[in-house]
């Protein structure tokens, strides 16, 4: 078969379909920019569903992330979050959770304090925003309410008994039980499959019938995250009404439902917002010219060339392929952007895995200027039209600091701001809100 070729013209090309990439597309649409976005949104299915802003600072668990940001600005001013004012971060985060809620995935609005959210092994995590389906878990824990946690025959990696065993001392009202998921007897069961099964009314009713006799006065019932894919809040409300107890979800080992919901939600709604999206296609090459850049992509059936007036790079780290390491150095894969190296591979990781200082390799990444443009060794922008956001940025350790989503969202917002300013220097974005031809 002959390969087709296609050309796309756009204001902004977003490379990456992680949280940073989708946040960037979202913000760019709001600014009236034309957006084309590419990537492979696999890694997103790995998230717990919690959106962290800053949960840990210097090994200390934070109640007040805003306070933590203040300390971050004093101690590591080069941290991408430290370079942004609270207001920007708050606005970006709020817009993002609003967009998720509009998508049908209710999220709590970012507040003044971190929430204490549950982890599958019964430990807790400090995070800023959680899916509405998980919020009652925070409340139940805070009130030590009478709570029943359930798991399922054949579900691996999630043990209600482990959850209970690890919380029992602090939470006497907690109990656990195991059920057989309706219609999935005698087999291994997967959260994604259970979630899709719960999209049908009969399965929901059958599950509620199984839970009811176990209740024994429990006000809250915790389940692994399986309450449907597209409309978890509706499913939860309906099941709660039938059960007479408050339901909540607990994250599970990936690939997990909350991440798949985010992925599917974005893939469904971004095109509706006017974004040209291909979420299963990587960019192979980017060439910069006078008026922007040309991206080359090779699809299964066609070659695509994208002419973009600006590019936003949000390709993530090693797991997503934005960075690569050989035995001597770390490099950026798509553009060969400069990365300030450690002296040798010996300095990448500390001797002890859980050293509270974290591993230096996790802080290697792309250096950017105040406009979130990647810079060279001299500190000058590599290209006027290239911006970057998310985990690929240097000077942060999002895993240890519990700042993944916050970093992705806030840096995307700032990078889009700069890109928009560059593309529409007069300050007035072109009005494209009424385009209906796409």
């Amino acid at each position: 078969m002959k390969r087709r070729s296609r050309r796309i013209d756009t204001d902004l090309a977003v490379i990456g379909t992680g949280i940073a990439g989708f946040a960037a597309s979202l913000f760019a649409c709001r600014r009236g920019l034309e957006v084309a976005q590419f990537g492979h949104s696999g890694a997103m299915a790995y998230t717990t569903g919690y959106l962290d802003l800053l949960g840990v600072q210097d090994g200390r668990v934070l109640d007040d992330p805003w306070d933590g940001l203040g300390a971050l600005r004093r101690e590591t001013p080069e941290h991408p979050l430290a370079r942004l004012p609270d207001e920007t971060i708050r606005t970006a985060f709020g817009l993002f959770t609003e967009a998720l809620t509009e998508m049908g995935l209710g999220y709590t609005a970012p507040g003044e304090r971190n929430l204490r959210a549950l982890l599958p092994n019964g430990l807790v995590k400090s995070t800023l925003s959680v899916p509405q389906t998980m919020l009652p878990g925070c409340e139940a824990l805070a009130q030590r309410a009478r709570t029943l946690v359930l798991d399922f025959d054949g579900l691996q990696g999630f043990s209600a008994r482990a959850f209970e065993a690890n919380l029992a001392e602090r939470w006497p009202g907690l109990s656990s039980a195991r059920l057989t998921f309706p219609g999935m007897e005698d087999r291994q069961v997967f959260p994604e499959v259970m979630a899709r099964a719960l999209e049908t009314r009969q399965t929901r009713e059958a599950l509620v019938d199984l839970i009811r006799p176990q209740l024994d006065g429990a006000e809250y019932v915790g389940l692994p995250a399986i309450l449907g894919m597209q409309a978890p809040d509706r499913i939860r409300t309906e099941m709660e009404a039938a059960l007479g107890a408050t339901l909540f979800e607990i994250p599970t080992i990936p690939p997990a439902v909350p991440g798949i919901r985010l992925r599917e939600g974005f893939e469904r709604t971004m095109p509706e917002r006017g974004v040209t999206l291909d979420p299963v296609l990587k960019v192979s090459r980017v060439r910069f010219g006078a008026a922007g850049a040309t991206l080359t992509l090779h699809g299964a059936m066609e070659d695509i060339e994208v002419e973009a007036r600006a590019v936003l790079l949000a390709t993530g780290r090693f797991l997503s392929g934005g960075l690569r390491a050989d035995r001597t150095q770390v490099s950026e894969t798509l553009l060969g952007l400069p990365i300030r190296q450690t002296e040798s591979r010996n300095d990448w990781y500390r001797k002890d895995y859980f050293d509270p200082a974290g591993h230096p390799v996790n802080r290697l990444g792309i250096e950017v200027d105040a406009s979130f443009r990647p810079v060279d060794a001299a500190g000058d922008p590599v290209q006027d039209t290239l911006f970057s956001a998310g985990a690929i940025l240097a000077h942060q350790d999002w895993v240890r600091q519990r700042c993944g989503a916050g970093l992705a969202i806030a840096s995307a917002y700032a990078a889009v701001d700069s890109a928009a300013a560059h593309l529409t220097p007069e300050g007035q974005p072109p009005d494209r809100s009424v385009r209906s031809d796409r």
Partner: protein, 531 residues
């Protein structure tokens, strides 16, 4: 204080190949033993070696006696424990830059030691091992094989338990001996898990503590054991690189042997004299050097994905010149009866090779049996080893084969890289040697392939832990601590091979261990609590 007391005819200290071999030897003579280890089975060199069942070729040039010993013992083990052995054969190859004279003398040395050896043309060698480079100029076949060091040790212990109820006790370390009238009357130990003292009364005490044998002998006041501790490091690849063993045909040096181990390959080794056999770990410098040397023989190693490195300490007998170069030390073994040290019921056996463990056990067994007035002959060269259900999960590939064969839809896979099913873990919990009430994740991993695949414990640590809670093995935060311990331990070996395709794995592992399981914060909290 709560002192636990055990009584037995023979106490054996050190549960490596040698100690477990002695346990089997004595039990088959009808003598009751108690085998202890301060950690667990194969915690020393027996769990940190190359897995090469030497044909003797490696020693043919320098030490014909050791070479012949290896050949004879190799033949016995191939007959009695075929399930632990891959009789894959081996090659000795010289590549451009290696000394042609050294290579040319090799067949004659093999002949003297009685090792079958056949010359191949470079083309024949490359047909047999396509990964060999064009620069090969000499090649010889030898009957090298590989051995699963975990399985055979489990089988030693399993057979002894079955034969006469001899017992194995993990995490029990010797701290001192009470001696009266030239006899050890009591061995003072500590249970390293709970800190409780343990006391063992035995008629005979055997010190088979490998690189620690000198220390242990000194605890009994014996100064006759002097060892050289030689650390060696090995790299494990993600997939099997060659069909058989490939040795570099030159005087032993770093990175000159590649040994297949089921579905993987092991490249090594280095030899660094260390003062203290404790707290050793592979370093990046060693890994890079081994790889550079190995790639000269097999260039494909430059592109090979390595998932882990590990180190072991060879217990070598001191010999002239060996201080500066462990490779010059005697590879033979020695039996110390300690009678000139004034003790009549203490034996130390040290040195040797994994390959010769049975012979070492036979010699020690003969002495101990004679002292006990037992006249049963050694049976270990005649009685096959057992291959029980709880003993077979260390073999790469065994778990997967078993799972596919049974095709039981309710038996879920806990470790996806190595296909270890829930039922395998349950069998180990129920009946593997050393199984106990609160079995740690580390202990289960030792008896299976859990945590040994490409993900190096990213997922399986969490899954197996959840399962252990389900089985009631844990009922408090202890399980989380054990899981943390396990992944911390894995990291030592993972760290030096982190580049290329292992970087995304490591990143994902850290996200799961910290972000999803909160292990970093729990670790910090625990440390704060204990000051």
């Amino acid at each position: 204080m709560n002192v636990r007391v055990h009584e037995t005819e023979v106490l054996i200290i050190g549960a490596g190949a040698t100690g477990s071999g002695i346990m089997r030897d004595l039990a088959l003579r009808g003598i009751h033993c108690l085998l202890i280890d301060r950690r667990d089975l194969n915690a020393g060199a027996s769990g940190g070696n190359h897995g090469l069942l030497h044909s003797g070729g490696r020693y043919a040039t320098a030490d014909a006696e050791t070479a012949a010993e290896c050949r004879r013992e190799g033949e016995i083990l191939k007959r009695l424990a075929p399930e632990c052995i891959d009789d894959c054969g081996g090659l000795f190859v010289a590549v451009e830059g290696d000394d042609p004279d050294f290579a040319a003398r090799f067949p004659e040395h093999c002949r003297v030691a009685g090792i079958p050896c056949e010359a191949l043309t470079p083309a024949e060698a490359r047909e047999r091992e396509p990964a060999l480079p064009e620069t090969v100029f000499a090649a010889y076949t030898v009957p090298d094989a590989t051995i699963d060091p975990f399985r055979i040790v489990l089988e030693n212990v399993g057979q002894a338990q079955q034969a006469n109820g001899s017992r194995y006790l993990p995490h029990t370390g010797v701290e001192g001996f009470d001696i009266e009238d030239g006899e050890i009357v009591r061995t003072r130990c500590r249970d390293h898990r709970c800190g409780d003292p343990v006391e063992i009364r035995a008629r005979q005490v055997v010190n088979a503590s490998g690189a620690w044998a000198e220390k242990v002998a000194r605890l009994a006041g014996c100064t006759d054991v002097t060892l050289l501790c030689s650390k060696g490091t090995l790299l494990i690849s993600n997939a099997r690189v060659t069909n058989g063993v490939v040795n570099r045909l030159r005087p032993p040096d770093d990175g000159d042997i590649l040994v297949p181990g089921g579905t993987v390959s092991l490249l090594g080794t280095s030899s660094v004299t260390v003062e203290d056999p404790d707290d050793i770990r592979p370093t990046i410098a060693e890994v890079d050097r081994i790889l550079a040397e190995g790639a000269a023989m097999l260039p494909i190693l430059n592109e090979t994905r390595f998932v882990r490195a590990f180190s072991g300490v060879r217990p070598l007998l001191r010999a002239p010149g060996s201080e500066s170069d462990g490779r010059k030390a005697n590879r033979g073994f020695a039996l110390f009866d300690h009678e000139d040290q004034g003790l009549t019921n203490f034996v130390t056996v040290a040195g040797g090779k994994f390959t010769t463990f049975r012979l070492m056990a036979e010699k020690a067994g003969d002495l101990v049996a004679r002292r006990l007035g037992n006249s049963e002959p050694c049976k270990t060269a005649l009685v096959p080893l057992p291959s029980g259900d709880a003993l077979r999960w260390t073999d790469p590939g065994a778990a997967a084969r078993d799972w596919y064969r049974r095709a039981d839809p309710t038996d879920m896979i806990l470790c996806e890289c190595e296909m270890v099913a829930r039922s395998a873990v349950d069998t180990i919990l129920a009946e593997a040697p050393g199984a106990e009430d609160h079995m740690s994740l580390r202990a289960i991993a030792l008896r299976s392939r859990i945590g040994k695949g490409a993900c190096q414990g990213a997922f399986c640590a969490l899954r197996v832990m959840a399962h252990l809670y389900d089985r009631g093995v844990y009922d408090g935060p202890d399980g989380l601590r054990q899981a943390r311990d396990f992944v911390e331990g894995r990291f030592r070996g993972v760290r030096p091979v982190l580049w290329g395709a292992q970087m995304p794995q490591a990143e994902l592992a850290e996200i799961l261990h910290c972000g999803l399981a909160g292990m970093d914060l729990a670790a910090a909290e625990d440390e704060g609590r204990t000051g």
